[in-house]
Amino acid sequence: MNKTGIIIGREFWERVRKKSFIITTILTPILMIGLCLAPTLMMLHDTSDVRKIVVLDETEGQFVGRSLQSDKSVEYQLLENISRKEASAKYSDEKSAFGILWIGSDILEHTDHIQLISNASSSLMLEEKISDQVSEILRTEKLRSYNIDGLDKIIAESNIRVSLSTMKNDGSGDEENMEKTSTAASMVFSMILGMLLYMFIILYGQQVLTTVIEEKQSRVLDVMVTSCSPFQMMMGKILGIAAVAAVQVLIWGLLITIASTILTPMIPVEAMDATSGLSAATAKFGNILFILKLFLCLLLYIVGGFLLYASLYAAAGSSVDSAQDAQQFSTIILLPIVMGVIVMMSVYNNPDSGLAFWCSMIPFTSPIVMMARIPFDVPDWQIILSLLILYASFILTTWLAARIYRIGIFMHGRKPSWKDLGNWLRTK
């Protein structure tokens, strides 16, 4: 086994065996699932608290009050033969009613003649619920006043939504086999990639930096530089931590899959509706080969992007002596990612612009920007070139980090200046 392998092994096993690793590996999925379930559970809990609203409807035949439908959270009670003054005296506390809904007799003409006089603090959701329902009743009433036959059917049928799918014209005229593209899905994918990359770098990139500094602070470095080359060491550290990240993410994925399989029946149908939008978007991709290509690129870019940024952290760790000194570097390193996300937004408007092209070649932004472009059918040579540049930059930066580390040892105990950094790179 070569030395890089031995160092990867050490970084990996030392981290994986730590209590903190085990705890975060188990706790994170629980927290994530909790985070997803919490709103649903809160919603369920919320409905048990029924609010009674008394309705003082002054319209002819009380057509609004009679049409109001009570549900799990709101119960309407229509008042008859009572003046507004009497009602507000009678229902003046929370026990008797949550509030009084007053509807003016000329509500059809003056849509602001509706008021909720509440005994407790109202909520935006409740107010929207009431106004939605009242608006619907009024709209139906208004339509009814035109005396159209089969109105209900017309209303139901007129509720139309189109579903636009885009295809890339390959000139063959064979539309069946044209690649389907989807802006919505591509946005989702590149957003996920951007977030994942950012998360990975924050979580694990920092570890690369700390582990390089650890060598210096514990003075293991003297023994290390007389046992293996700094490049082997840097590579071992970066790949070791990348392996930890991969294993942790795999375990998370597995736990979340298992947990969601078990928990899905417990999630109310309404909550599921919200997530089904995403699966509908991905379904639009059609072509299985294209999905495979997308996932392969996703994997390659996320790994490459992580490795490149990890090597930048390694270089930062090599040029400083303490974690405090490293702080300033960490912020600078994150800037290109933010820049990538900004460019990504503009890519949706014009995926073939010069900016989009160059940012998908520059390795610091390419993982995010190229992933945003791929759903818009980028030529393969561009993807391959961009990946080559990305991985070559990773090797180069690691070499650079090793160089700074190796030569930086001369200077132990003294902060290097930018001039020193330049000199180190030239020194044989």
Binding site: R10, K18, V223, S227
Partner: protein, 308 residues
């Protein structure tokens, strides 16, 4: 015997001061070689030059007949002055890690390490973390990490600092054992007793210069310069007169114990030693005649002060 390591005209300047100035020395194969010198003399810099941690401004390091390469460095055993071990790592894992980095197979490393741990009575520590060990214990672990791959050349920077006398003795015994099994050992130290006990040869570095090199016996003998302490009584004539032409007294008598006078004399040549003994024996009651070899401590101080 061919030297295993030759240092030729090495100089190294850091910003503002010269750490090594034209230092040359030869380290014989299979010897224990002491690098002595006051703090800041340049010992550690010299060791780091040999290790290629520091690149010299000029000069060469020749190892085993060729200019030293990075692969040679990877094969030697080096224990730095500031001991470095991963604090959170378990002792056994750590020793295995370094042994394997030095190119040992897993099974062989495991076997050899257990042998060493047993010999130094450290077997209970295998599963402990470094941060739970005392400083001396951690140093023993580091010692094993340095020697387990049985390198031809071993370099220890201040190996005895931080050890109690019992552990220092164990360490000396092991260093002698390593030499007897064929290794060459270089170590830097301030501990002059250990130099007398285990070093075959030394170099004394002061203010970035090599001011004294050679075998310990020779250096002490030379520094002693045929000085003897004689103890006698009932001398028939003054000592200077008796020995005139062959030896002279150094200073006043050291003391008189039970009627016996103790006096240091300097004999002009090795050839006269027997004559002097004969003369003294013939004209006094000679009780003892003893060569005075200065301690390395004396030599160190005199050499650094320029009075050797």
């Amino acid at each position: 015997m061919n030297p295993i390591l030759k240092i030729e005209n090495v100089s190294k300047t850091y910003t503002g001061h010269k750490a090594l100035d034209d230092v040359s020395l030869e380290i014989p194969q299979g010897s224990i070689y002491g690098l002595l010198g006051p703090n800041g003399a340049g010992k550690t810099t010299l060791i780091r030059v040999v290790n290629r941690i520091t690149i010299p401004d000029c000069g060469k390091v020749i190892f085993d007949g060729h200019e030293i390469t990075i692969d040679d460095i990877f094969s030697i055993g080096y224990m730095p002055e500031e001991r470095g071990l991963y604090k959170k790592m378990r002792v056994g894992d750590q020793a295995m890690f370094f042994a394997r980095l030095k190119g040992m197979e897993i099974t062989k490393a495991n076997k050899k390490l257990h042998e060493w741990f047993d010999r130094l009575e450290m077997s209970d520590w295998w599963g402990k973390k470094i941060e739970d060990l005392s400083k001396g214990m951690a140093q023993k672990v580091q010692f094993i990490c340095t020697v387990v791959h049985e390198p031809k050349l071993l370099i220890f920077d201040e190996p005895f600092s931080g050890f109690d006398p019992i552990n220092a003795d164990i360490l000396k015994r092991e260093i002698l054992g390593l030499r007897d099994r064929g290794a060459t050992v270089i170590f830097s130290t301030h501990n002059m007793e250990s130099v007398e006990e285990i070093c075959d040869d030394i170099t004394l570095i002061n203010k970035s210069h090599n001011i004294l090199s050679g075998s310990v016996d020779e250096i002490r003998r030379k520094a002693g310069g045929n000085t003897f302490l004689v103890t006698y009584k009932d001398l028939e004539q003054p000592l200077d007169e008796l020995l005139s032409g062959k030896a002279e007294c150094i200073g006043l008598p050291e003391g008189i114990i039970g009627g016996y006078t103790q006096q240091k004399v300097h004999i002009q040549s090795d050839d006269y030693v027997r004559d002097v003994i004969a003369l003294l024996n013939g004209s006094s009651r000679l009780r003892s005649f003893q060569e005075v070899i200065p301690s390395m401590n004396d030599i160190f101080i005199r050499a650094v002060n320029g009075t050797l």
